[in-house]
Subunit: 337 residues, 2 copies
């Protein structure tokens, strides 16, 4: 059995959709067991209504009624609220060797702070990083690391992001992952001072399949398996992509609404294509962003996650535990002298 | 008459598409006259074949056979090649008061360097900036400034970008332009040290309608008329948007191709909607990126510009001259003490 901790009260649709997602994951993966942190009575009621003995045998419920909200300053909240579901989860994760992973759809900041301060960093990793999996035009996925955990970085951080991203890609079955450094042009000399210094370190590390600078235009091209960035730029790239996909769909919808009967008929005929496309583009359906560089496997699901995304996040966490992402990171990192 | 200089040999489709675009703009705007820099004989042949006396009266051709390519290092190329069409154009722009604008589809770097070193900055502007107009979901446009001219910036630069962006928006008929600062979250405290310092300056300038931080997800939301950024992040945001729009269209096309007869019929019925959407999303069709902060009006058209984009860039340049964007920038800037 692989045991994963779930923060049941994090996210916009907690606890119902979170619990539905847990059940779906337990049904799909028989080797999975869960420790659910939240309001014990409510969670018990949910499972009593469900009345499935086999599922119930694979869950443990821990009372932790307090929730850290998105509005709270993460570091302060983590320090001041020892009874919150997040802090209690993290303590259990640190202390109980049988618990190997954690997922939450709650405050990203609080998850990152809690994981770093309580569960702890991997020895030698200066800055853990947030890494979502994005779809590409070729159908393969690309890992964008870091997407917001570290706003200001040093060159060694970017090197470690590349090494952690590589470990993650290996766990996803990618051989010899192709690595790019996010920059304002593909040429070697492009970028800020930080970029140029990181470029040198990436080039020097012969264990990496470093392809050079990657323009933001090419993140989704399928030409890279890992794109490395500081957290500020990674966040800009990720959210600009998200906003643009939304804008294209919204303009398309508007065009169809205004296009009369012909457009509406066309839409009906293309509905399966659109559905498939939305599914491909919506990276949340593929799980969550992995927080790499801490001692356990931590997956941050989107705040708006419904059952489907929670299930995907749990299965992703399970897979990363099984493929030993933490061990692979430990093997591959350069430690600052 | 308003006189604009054209770099006829810049861009992937030069000179034919550039010249076709010039003719289209001259036909549409009777108050426009052009000075064409390039290979005199070839340009003369083009107009002799065209054989339109009225058009010919409004053009002047200047021999400048050398072209600076995208592969050359801009600063060196501008210094070493006094006979290139770009350097000759810039010198004429500086020396001849009757020439008020310039357009090129050539090397962006060379245009920026040439404009700054030769045509000259507006007094008080530390860093001119590149500002494309992007479409939004509401149909209004948003100015993203800077998109790549200044990779590393100070807070005062970002303040001036906001002031120049405001002047540009006013010229486009936007009243009291809403200004956002690109950051990794909408909350006031988000962003790098630079961002936080720029935030203070923007807040203090009471002449600006500053709405606060703008997440990259909201650039195309229509909630902002001007989004301010350093050139590195602006470039990442712009190109990530471009790459995502391309990826969505490419996946959609693939879905239609694989979707059998039903999907193909649906596509045919939705063709006008798709065409309209592509037109809306393709910001190059709206002209080019304006290079703000220099003494004349400079529009950089996309390297892949065809006649339509060149015409749009010329009409945009014409409009900005007529609405006195340079004067408006001079009025609105804060000068570093």
């Amino acid at each position: 059995m692989t045991k994963i901790i779930v923060d049941v009260y994090g996210g916009d649709y907690a606890p119902k959709e979170i619990l539905d997602g847990c059940v779906a994951a337990l049904q799909e993966e028989s080797e999975l067991s869960l420790v659910l942190f939240g309001k014990e009575n409510e969670i018990k009621d949910y499972f009593n209504t469900l009345n499935d003995v086999k599922i119930q045998e694979r869950i443990e419920i821990v009372e932790a009624p307090e929730v850290i909200s998105n509005e709270e300053a993460p570091t302060e909240a983590v320090r001041r609220r020892p009874d919150s579901s997040l802090v209690k989860s993290m303590r259990r994760l640190k202390e109980d060797d049988s618990c190997e992973g954690f997922i939450s759809a709650g405050s990203t900041g609080a998850v990152l702070v809690g994981a770093t301060l309580i569960a702890g960093r991997i020895r030698g990793i200066n800055r853990p990083a947030l890494a979502p999996l994005l779809p590409t035009v070729t159908g393969k996925q690309v890992i964008l690391i870091d997407c917001g955990a570290n706003i200001e970085c040093k060159d060694i951080n970017l090197l470690q992001f590349a090494q952690m991203g590589k470990a993650y890609a290996l766990c996803n079955g990618v051989e010899n992952p192709r690595i790019g450094l996010l920059s304002n042009g593909a040429e070697d000399h492009k970028g800020t001072t930080l970029n140029q210094e990181a470029f040198k370190l990436l080039k020097e590390d012969k264990s990496l399949n470093f392809l050079g600078n990657c323009e933001a235009r090419d993140i989704l091209s399928g030409n890279y398996d890992v794109v490395v960035s500081d957290g500020f730029n990674g966040n800009i790239a990720l959210k600009s992509a998200e906003g643009t996909a939304n804008a294209v769909f919204s303009l398309l919808k508007e065009g169809i609404m205004k296009g009369g009967l012909r457009a509406k008929l066309g839409y009906l005929m293309l509905k399966p294509v659109f559905k498939e496309l939305k599914h491909k583009v919506d990276y949340n359906e593929n799980g969550g962003a992995c927080f790499l560089g801490v001692n356990k496997v931590i997956v941050k699901a989107h705040g708006a996650s419904k059952a489907k995304s929670i299930k995907a996040a749990l299965l992703q966490c399970f897979k990363l535990i099984k493929s030993d992402v933490v061990g692979k990171i430990k093997e591959g990192i350069s430690v600052e002298e």
